[in-house]
């Protein structure tokens, strides 16, 4: 179950704890560091572009880490589940900053240009979709929301796999050629999505083998 520690010692929804605050602060260091560099003319000739890409890269990095938690647990038995919400929120915060820098620092709130970007350019539309889909996930990340939504919470949060695919496409399109970086991260994201799909399928089959078809389960 998401956000339930499986140790048996403490089978409750894990509260917002001290160590996750530390993780949040450490996770925001790359942004703070580059903001300081940029404000002090230490980011080279084109600082806004460097900062913008840096924030996007870290959003992707935290998304990869978030999606690694479950495979890690299944494959090694080692659970870092209590950090998943923090990592997911860090991905969201980096995506927010990435979009904010694009709108404010880069395009300087030039509304006609932004409107054309949002309506005509697949590269930016795909990236923006990925960001928008992260918003409901971030809004429902609080413990009370998890309790309240119950099973629907799990369904809703599967959106993260859609976000991962959209982010991969956006990331690949951000480079003029296919670079080791862009292909590497896109492959990692898509690989994690595929793994999750395969794992779910395997689970359903196993359950069917053991228990027979459940009511309402359609099998092909």
């Amino acid at each position: 179950m998401p956000y339930l520690s499986g140790s048996g010692r403490n089978r409750t929804v894990v509260p917002w704890r001290f160590e996750t605050w530390i993780l949040t602060i450490v996770g925001l260091v790359p942004a703070a560091l580059y903001f300081w560099y940029g404000a002090h003319d230490q980011l080279g000739a084109d600082p806004v572009n460097v900062f913008e890409r840096w924030l996007g890269l870290w959003a992707v990095r935290f998304l990869v880490l978030t999606l690694c938690i479950t495979p890690l647990r299944v494959m090694t038995g080692y659970s870092l589940l209590r950090y998943r919400r923090t990592l997911g929120l860090l991905a969201f915060w980096y995506a927010c900053m990435h979009v904010a820098v694009y709108v404010g620092l880069d395009q300087r709130f030039d509304m006609p240009v932004l409107w054309r970007d949002m309506t005509r350019r697949p590269f930016l539309m795909i990236g923006f979709c990925a960001f928008i889909l992260l918003v409901p996930l971030a809004l429902t990340s609080a413990t009370w929301a998890i309790r309240r939504l119950g099973r629907r919470w799990r369904t809703l949060h599967r959106l993260v796999y859609v976000v991962a695919v959209l982010a991969s496409v956006h990331f690949l399109m951000a480079f003029k050629t296919y670079t080791p970086t862009s292909v590497g991260y896109a492959a990692a994201l898509c690989g994690l999505v595929l793994w999750r799909g395969g794992h779910a399928l395997w689970h359903v089959r196993k359950r069917v083998r053991q228990d027979g078809p459940r009511q309402g389960t359609v099998l092909k």
Binding site: A39, A45, V48, Q107, R108, D110, V113, D117, R120, R121
Partner: protein
């Protein structure tokens, strides 16, 4: 009153002032060349001052600082990152170098770069440079009009395009080694003959009064200020006059994003971003450079708009 006379040379024999002045330049250039032969190893590191004079078409803007011009480069032969060229270009040897002018010309010739520089009158031009990636600089180039070189070769009547080819040296240029992100090498570019003969079209052999640094396309590169920067092919080895429109590297990579003409045009967007505005490179951190409106033909419309009066610039971007 005694009348006296002396034999005067006929007017055709009088050395023009320009040639007279260039004799000094020739002497200076040949002494530099000889000095260079003696200390070849030291050459690339130490940029020499060029004998250059102010030329026409001076932009009004403030020049971009030299460190930005030499450390923020797209030169994919050295790598995809903006700092890769300045990091890896020191292994590149821009001399000895030959530049071949060939194809549909009356006088094809293989020029030694130092002889070519001595033969030409070098002048400085402060040009705006607009990259297709929506950033811009203002650079004081030193060199000569491409037309001056082409006139020496005398293009034939059926020469309609000029094809340029860059250098192929994977051992000196890490970006040319095979890889996922590698382009088809060598880099090739092209111009229509009227674009090539336009007085704005420039071959640069220096910038900021110094010999062209390796990362900026040493020893000789094209500068076409009303077109996006990728038209400015670097480290040119071959200039060929041809009848058919030649292939160009970025157009071959992605024809929907990079056209043959690649004129700066704020109304024709790149599929992935707007070309209406540009980030001004020039330090100062986040709030230093800022953004400005991109001008049609990069502000050189008065000089070049006539070249395209019959063309739909949305189709031929």
């Amino acid at each position: 009153m005694a009348r006296w006379s002396y034999p005067r040379p006929s007017p055709t024999e009088i050395t023009s002032h320009q040639a007279w002045m260039s004799r000094r330049r020739f002497l200076a250039a040949s002494s530099i060349a000889m000095g260079g032969m003696m200390e070849q190893a030291a050459r690339p590191a130490m940029a020499e001052g060029l004998r250059t004079r102010p030329g026409p078409f001076q932009a009004e803007e403030k020049p971009t600082p030299l460190t930005d011009v030499t450390h923020y480069n797209n030169f994919y032969e050295f790598g995809l990152g903006k700092s890769d060229p300045s990091t890896y270009a020191s292994a590149f040897r821009p001399r000895p170098w030959t530049l071949s002018v060939e194809g549909l010309v009356a006088h094809p010739r293989v020029w030694d770069i130092d002889r070519l520089m001595a033969a030409m009158t070098l002048e400085e031009r402060l040009y705006r440079m607009r990259c297709v990636e929506a950033w811009s600089m203002v650079i004081p180039w030193d060199g000569f009009a491409l037309a001056d070189l082409l006139k020496l070769a005398e293009p034939l009547g059926n020469a309609r395009y000029v094809a340029f080819e860059s250098v192929l040296r994977p051992e000196q240029m890490p970006g040319q080694q095979p890889g996922l992100d590698s382009l088809p090498w060598p880099y090739v570019e092209g111009l229509r003959i009227d674009e090539a003969m336009h007085p704005l079209t420039f071959l640069a052999v220096g910038l900021y009064g110094q010999t062209l640094p390796n990362q900026n396309g040493a020893p000789v590169r094209l500068v076409v200020p009303w077109k996006y920067g990728f038209k400015g092919i670097k480290s040119i080895t071959r200039i060929r006059l041809v009848e058919q429109m030649p292939p160009t590297t970025w157009n071959r990579m992605n024809a929907s994003e990079y056209g043959f003409f690649a004129n700066v045009n704020p109304d024709v967007d790149h599929p992935r971003w707007s070309q209406a505005t540009e980030r001004v490179i020039g330090g100062g951190g986040f709030f230093g450079g800022g953004r400005k409106r991109t001008l049609m033909f990069n502000g050189y419309g008065e000089q070049v708009a006539g070249l395209y009066s019959q063309m739909d610039l949305r189709t031929y971007f």
